[in-house]
């Protein structure tokens, strides 16, 4: 009798734990359903072709235009500025930590670099707007107060730890005997790093880069604070721009009634953002899976 009561209890607990694990799938479903449902309402009113090819984005004006390209160009511009900082710096730092740095230094510096990820992004935004922009204006006098370059650089430094720590893990996974083979041939550490370790850890490093891209695309507050809120179809880093994320922030700050076309625009922008990051996440996932198979 006692035995069967215990069995039932075990079943109930297992079911409860299972439901908790499955709930994470429902979060994804929830995201997809909500974004699809509200965007569907948006695309009933605005033709998809206008949305994808229009170069003017003024949904809050009296004469609304719904071309997403200015927001996409703003997102890509800031992302590329951030990546041109984060990728070289992150990769060089990863090579240094994995191949050159003494053990003690590596163990001390890694937790400290993790703190960079702990700083709230709104504080980074403050820093970009009120510290870096005035500094850059000294160098480039015609830089406007809101611009793409300053939040781009800050965002780049922000994602360096992500890029470097994932790349470093990939390089650490390269077996020692491969390096030893290279040293035995008389190669320097630098030659070994670039000709042997990096090619061997390639998919891991690529996954780190992809992760950095996806993070830069989705970053919100630095851009919302320091890039200005101007949908601007340009690739000039000196001008103010708006990204997909900062547009959503702008609309959410105002008082937009539920169910209107303006309300639905943030879901259309969110859908675009979600698909962009999903694309990169899938590539990154696939690359990481390949590393695990390599050795």
């Amino acid at each position: 009798m006692k035995k069967s009561a215990q069995k039932i209890r075990e079943r109930i607990i297992e079911t409860g734990l299972f439901l908790s694990a499955v709930s994470s799938v429902f979060i994804t479903l929830g995201i997809v359903i909500i974004l699809a449902y509200e965007s569907f309402g948006f695309f009933m009113a605005v033709p998809v072709t206008e949305f994808l090819t229009g170069t003017v984005w003024t949904p809050l004006f009296a004469d609304p235009r719904f071309g997403i390209l200015p927001l996409v160009s703003g997102t890509l511009l800031i992302t590329s500025i951030a990546l041109s900082v984060a990728l070289p710096v992150g990769l060089i730092s990863a090579i240094y930590l994995s191949e050159y740095a003494p053990h003690r230094l590596r163990e001390t510096i890694k937790p400290v670099l993790e703190l960079l990820a702990a700083v709230p992004t709104v504080v980074y935004g403050y820093f970009a707007l009120l510290f870096l922009t005035p500094l850059l204006q000294e160098l480039l006098p015609d830089l406007s107060g809101f611009n793409a370059i300053s939040p781009g650089i800050i965002m780049g430094v922000m994602i360096v730890p992500y890029v470097s720590s994932v790349s470093e893990d990939a390089m650490k996974a390269v077996p020692m005997y491969i390096r030893e083979g290279s040293y035995a041939m008389g190669a320097t550490k630098l030659q070994t790093a670039f000709k042997v370790v990096i090619p061997a850890a390639f998919s891991g490093i690529a996954a780190a880069f992809i992760m950095g891209i996806s993070r830069a695309i989705g970053e919100t507050m630095v851009v919302a604070i320091a890039a200005g809120m101007m949908p601007n179809f340009t690739f000039n880093p000196m001008e103010p721009v708006q990204t997909l994320t900062s547009y959503i922030v702008q609309v959410s700050l105002g008082d937009v009634p539920h169910g209107t076309i303006e309300y639905k625009t943030i879901f259309a922008a969110g859908m675009t953002l979600f698909l962009m990051t999903l694309f990169f996440n899938i590539i990154g996932f696939w690359l990481r899976k390949r590393i695990r198979e390599a050795y």
Partner: protein, 302 residues
């Protein structure tokens, strides 16, 4: 011969230069962190006083404070912790101890990895569509807390799994050998031994949530709130009230955002001061996490 020596010297020089470059690149992040902290303190430190913590926001920068912001942050964190911890730990236990290797488990795992890469503002849109308008929770503490709970759920699950994975199989086998059921093993052995790792993950997750701004803006937190939510304890029957869950709110990062976005310099000082407070909160939580990880690692020897 001379040619070779020259080449070796050149290669050694390149090697050395790269070492310097690598050290510099590693310290770029650190330099930014120091510049940021120094800048915040120089701007904001004089503004921090008892009055700053005890005043509501105001049109006059010298009188404005962060009372409603820090109370809001505290309440939101309470909701987030209550929602994310049980769900995340349970999911982590299931995936490590119970899950069979099949397509459903694969889907759950891929899904969690993907959720960790979804931008935080998307969680805000989810919460806006689901909690605000579908479940009709309104733009309330409950909605904000749940939005952040969903955001840190993947982090809590992954931390739980990592902590459980570190427990050697001999512990489980010893427990089964004494006739314990699966759940008894989990409850009396797996959970206690992985507490340190799980706790560390939870604290780091919450410290991420405390600084998150975007999803909270999306669910419609107000930027100007000059009142506190209903107190949870009252002198009248039934003494405990949950009305605060449905009150409008603001949080620290939103208050900072609001002050930064104003043109007047005086408000920027307030933003820096509030930034110091928020930064201290997150850094303290991270320090606590590192300490717990250290303590538990020392205590347990397999």
């Amino acid at each position: 011969m001379k040619d070779i020596k020259k080449r070796i010297a050149f290669n050694k020089f390149k090697d050395y230069s790269f070492r310097v470059l690598g050290l510099l690149s590693t310290f770029v992040g650190l330099a930014l962190l120091f510049a940021l902290i120094a800048d915040l303190f120089m701007e904001g430190a004089p503004r921090i006083s008892y009055k700053f913590f005890a005043s509501f926001p105001s049109r006059f920068p010298e009188e404005a404070g962060i009372l409603s912001a820090w109370v809001g942050t505290l309440l939101i964190m309470l909701v987030t912790a209550f929602a994310a911890i049980p769900l995340g730990v349970a999911a982590g236990i299931y995936l490590e101890e119970y899950a069979k290797k099949n397509w459903l488990t694969d889907i759950i795992e891929i899904n969690i990895a993907n959720l960790a890469g979804v931008p935080s503002i998307i969680y805000g849109l989810l919460a806006l569509g689901m909690f605000v308008y579908f479940f009709k929770f309104g733009e309330s503490v409950l909605t904000g807390g749940l939005a952040l709970a969903l955001l840190i759920l993947p982090m809590v699950i992954m931390a739980t799994r990592e902590a459980i994975r570190a427990i050697p199989n001999s512990i489980r086998e010893a427990s089964y050998a004494l006739g314990a059921t699966k759940w008894q093993t989990v409850w009396w052995h797996i959970i206690p031994y992985s507490t340190g790792g799980i706790l560390t993950g939870i604290i780091i997750g919450l410290s991420r949530a405390i600084g998150e701004t975007a999803p909270i803006i999306t669910v419609g937190a107000l930027t100007f709130i000059a009142f506190l939510p209903t107190p949870p304890v009252s002198s009248d029957f039934p003494f405990i009230s949950f009305k605060w869950l449905f009150d409008p709110f603001t949080v620290m990062p939103i208050q900072i955002f609001n002050w930064v976005s104003r043109p007047q310099q005086e408000f920027h000082v307030n933003a820096a001061a509030a930034g110091i407070v928020l930064l201290c909160m997150t850094l303290l939580m991270n320090a606590a996490a590192i300490y717990i990880r250290y303590r538990f690692r020392k205590k347990i020897k397999w």
